[in-house]
């Protein structure tokens, strides 16, 4: 430690040695950067590029400028693409209603956060829907909704309330699928809150109790603020989950009846990759619009994370 105190030693060290501190983090980052740019960043720009072309995925691309966006958004003398409009509003429905998973997850987590015999079993049972595949969830719910044999209609029939064909009715089908999606999503939020509840400081609860706080006041002013990190994560995963809602739609209604349950990601898939699709340009234009919607959320999340870190400092 004390021996190489004189300056010439520095020049003896290699270039890497001299810059070790600055370079090492980049060395560790290189694999990540390489893969991220090849598999994420480049495809994003390629999609932008393709969206300005007419292309069937096989032959030559024809440049069409912003024609696809004009058709999609109804710029100029044409109407907005109806399928796009329906998909967009369905996406909004998903975003808003999917957030119900957060309070429901919180409620179940509070309910399960007690010490009784076999609580671990109950917890795992509640977590179960998140473990099974979305495809299975979709199938189970579509059987549940079946117009004649389904359990839902058996129950309705028992109470003489007539029958419902939820997935066959264009006004209800999307809500039916969202309800199916809420089942696993609630379980996810519940797990996040359960781990969050473990970290709640018992002393603060004790102190609040001495001050006479109980019931919903205790929850609102003492418990919830401590669960803020869990809420944030639950919010993020739920929003992303809502925007990624694809498998349930594909399994339960295949976008129908008459395209009323399409969302943007499903429409994009239909246009570009499905059996009757391969209109890569138009599909890419939809993907680009979806990307910018997601970007809005991502920027918001990053901003609030950055703000939080700044406050913590």
């Amino acid at each position: 430690m004390s021996a190489p105190a004189d300056t010439p030693v520095t020049s003896n060290r290699g270039w890497y040695r001299r810059n070790e501190i600055a370079i090492t983090p980049w060395l560790f980052l290189i694999p990540g950067i390489v893969f991220f740019s090849i598999y994420v960043v480049m495809p994003i720009f390629q999609s932008f590029w393709i969206s300005f072309h007419e292309w069937d995925g096989l032959g030559d691309k024809t440049y069409v400028g912003t024609a696809h966006y004009e058709r999609l958004l109804g710029i100029g003398d044409q109407k907005m693409d109806r399928k796009f409009e329906v998909s967009f509003w369905n996406n909004i429905k998903w975003l808003v209603l999917y957030l119900l998973a957060i309070p429901m997850g919180l409620f179940i987590a509070l309910f399960l956060n007690q010490t009784v015999r076999g609580i671990r079993l109950y917890k795992s049972l509640f977590f179960f829907p998140f473990v099974i595949s979305q495809v299975v969830v979709g199938l189970v719910f579509s059987w549940f909704y079946l117009p004649r044999e389904g359990l839902l209609n058996a129950i309705l029939g028992f109470f003489n309330m007539g029958s419902l064909n939820i997935l066959g009715d264009p006004t209800m089908a999307t809500y039916g699928i969202i309800a199916a999606g809420l089942w696993p999503q609630t379980a996810y939020c519940m797990i996040l809150y359960l781990t969050g509840l473990n970290a709640v400081d018992p002393e603060q609860v004790e102190a609040a109790r001495l001050d006479g706080a109980k019931g919903h006041k205790m929850l609102w002013y003492v418990i919830l603020p401590q669960l803020k990190p869990a809420t944030f994560i639950a919010f993020v995963v739920t929003i992303i989950g809502a925007l990624r809602s694809f498998d349930l739609i594909s399994i339960m209604t295949n976008g129908g009846p008459f395209g009323s349950t399409r969302v943007l990601s499903f429409y994009m898939f239909e246009e570009s990759l499905s059996e009757f699709g391969f209109r890569m340009g138009y599909g890419s234009a939809i993907a680009t619009v979806l990307f910018f919607i997601m970007l809005g959320f991502i920027v918001y999340f990053l901003y609030s994370m950055w703000r939080e870190e700044k406050e913590a400092r």
Binding site: L58, L146, P257, S274, E275, F276, F278
Partner: protein, 419 residues
């Protein structure tokens, strides 16, 4: 120098003669490997394909046949990658417009030379479906009829006979509905079944030629004649002829209605017979009739054709061509369609299976399809028009009042798709 040229010319002539001789005796000395990628993944067709590959392999001792069977649904999207990179020598696909994208991208081999051979005159009836721009791009290996499969026992019970006209059809249907049943089962979740109904309603109302003009985009969807088709169709919808909630079911899920006798008929392709028999219906209970006449026009029929093609990137095109000759030959056609496939042979010299439905279908297509033979809604119409169209047809079947809106939408699509 001179001698070299001479020698090579001599060799060339020799090779040509040799090839010609080999060609003439029909057992070309094929060698190397023949890679076949097939979408015949259902149990029965798979057995057929495996047998074909084995037989062809045996016939040509120097040739190794490698068969890859891909899931039929997955193949519909996989074919693109498969054709462009490392293409196999023979692939399965479909006739008519469905070949279009691959033909125009130059991914299918032009095999007009094979079609010019005298042996292919026996395939004349399907030549049109394999032709784009005056050239042939593949060969068919099987096709099947569409028509109305019905419960003969229920018809007898109600005292009904097979209808020949639309009025008789509706009179029958009125009695069936009165007996507490539905006239037709259908599952329109995956849309194409509604396409079958439209094909027939339109071909019977306006004729085959008009239907093809519509498919080629030269008629507007808002045309009065198209509206007439829909108004005929609506007569059936309004009398409650179709099962309820059909938008929830796939075509297989709609079969039980017919098996249980809750619905009496099914407009379907001949492939529906196998599951109906498996579900316990005997040939006495199950009947078949041609879609009844509406207007006085020659009948057009749907008879989708499945095909083999040679990718233009194939390595062993000689062997591939020989394989196409092999599958379309009289003996092979009688064998595969008569046994496992249970469908119609494309070779007119082949024998037709001794099966009630196949003989009826064969008779119908040979003698009673004067209008012409169509492939199917989703194969005759271009992809984008077909998907928008079938979605509109499904909507019409559930909400017939939305017709104006649907037609306006389809017309908008038509104006964009055909340029």
């Amino acid at each position: 120098m001179r001698s070299i040229i001479k020698a090579s010319v001599a060799t060339l002539t020799a090779t040509t003669i040799l090839a010609g001789a080999a060609f003439a005796d029909g057992h070309a000395k094929l060698s190397g490997e023949l890679n076949i990628t097939s979408d015949m993944s259902n149990p029965a067709p798979r057995a057929v394909m495996e047998r074909l590959a084995a037989q062809f392999d045996e016939k040509h001792p120097n040739l190794t046949v490698n068969l890859t069977v891909v899931d039929r649904e997955a193949w519909k999207t996989q074919i693109r990658n498969s054709l462009s990179a490392n293409a196999p020598d023979v692939v399965n696909w479909y006739a008519a417009n469905r070949m279009g994208p691959y033909v125009s991208a130059g991914l299918f081999e032009d095999i007009s030379d094979v079609w010019a051979e005298p042996a292919f005159e026996a395939l004349a009836s399907t030549k049109g479906a394999m032709t784009i721009d005056g050239k042939q791009w593949g060969v068919p290996y099987t096709y099947y009829q569409w028509g109305i499969y019905y419960r003969e026992d229920i018809f007898k019970e109600l005292g009904l006979s097979e209808p020949a006209t639309f009025d008789e059809e509706m009179a029958n249907c009125a009695k069936i509905v009165e007996s507490g049943r539905k006239c037709y089962t259908i599952g329109s979740k995956f849309l194409w079944t509604a396409g079958g109904w439209f094909d027939y309603m339109n071909m019977r109302t306006n004729g085959f030629d008009f239907h093809m003009e519509l498919a080629q985009g030269s008629v507007e969807w808002t045309d009065e004649r198209v509206r007439e088709t829909f108004s005929n169709w609506r007569k059936l919808i309004d009398m409650g002829a179709f099962v309820d909630d059909h938008q929830n079911y796939s075509w297989q899920e709609a079969l039980p209605f017919m098996v249980k006798g809750e619905a009496t008929a099914y407009l379907m392709g001949n492939f529906a017979v196998a599951p109906l028999r498996e579900a316990g219906l005997t040939d006495d209970q199950l009947g078949f009739y041609q879609f009844p006449l509406i207007a006085d026009v020659p009948q057009g029929e749907d008879a989708p054709t499945d095909t083999f093609h040679i990718p233009s990137g194939a390595m062993n095109k000689d062997a591939a061509r020989e394989f196409l000759r092999f599958v379309t030959s009289e003996a092979v056609q009688s064998d595969i369609n008569g046994n496992e496939l249970g469908q119609l042979p494309v070779n007119s010299a082949s024998s037709v299976a001794d099966d009630k439905f196949i003989t009826k279908g064969f008779d119908m297509l040979s003698n009673n399809a004067k209008g012409g033979v169509a492939q199917f809604f989703d194969r005759d119409f271009p992809a984008e028009m077909a998907s928008a169209g079938m979605e509109g047809l499904q909507e019409f079947m559930v909400f017939p009042d939305n017709l104006d809106d649907i037609l306006a939408r389809l017309e908008e699509t038509r104006a964009r798709v055909y340029k």
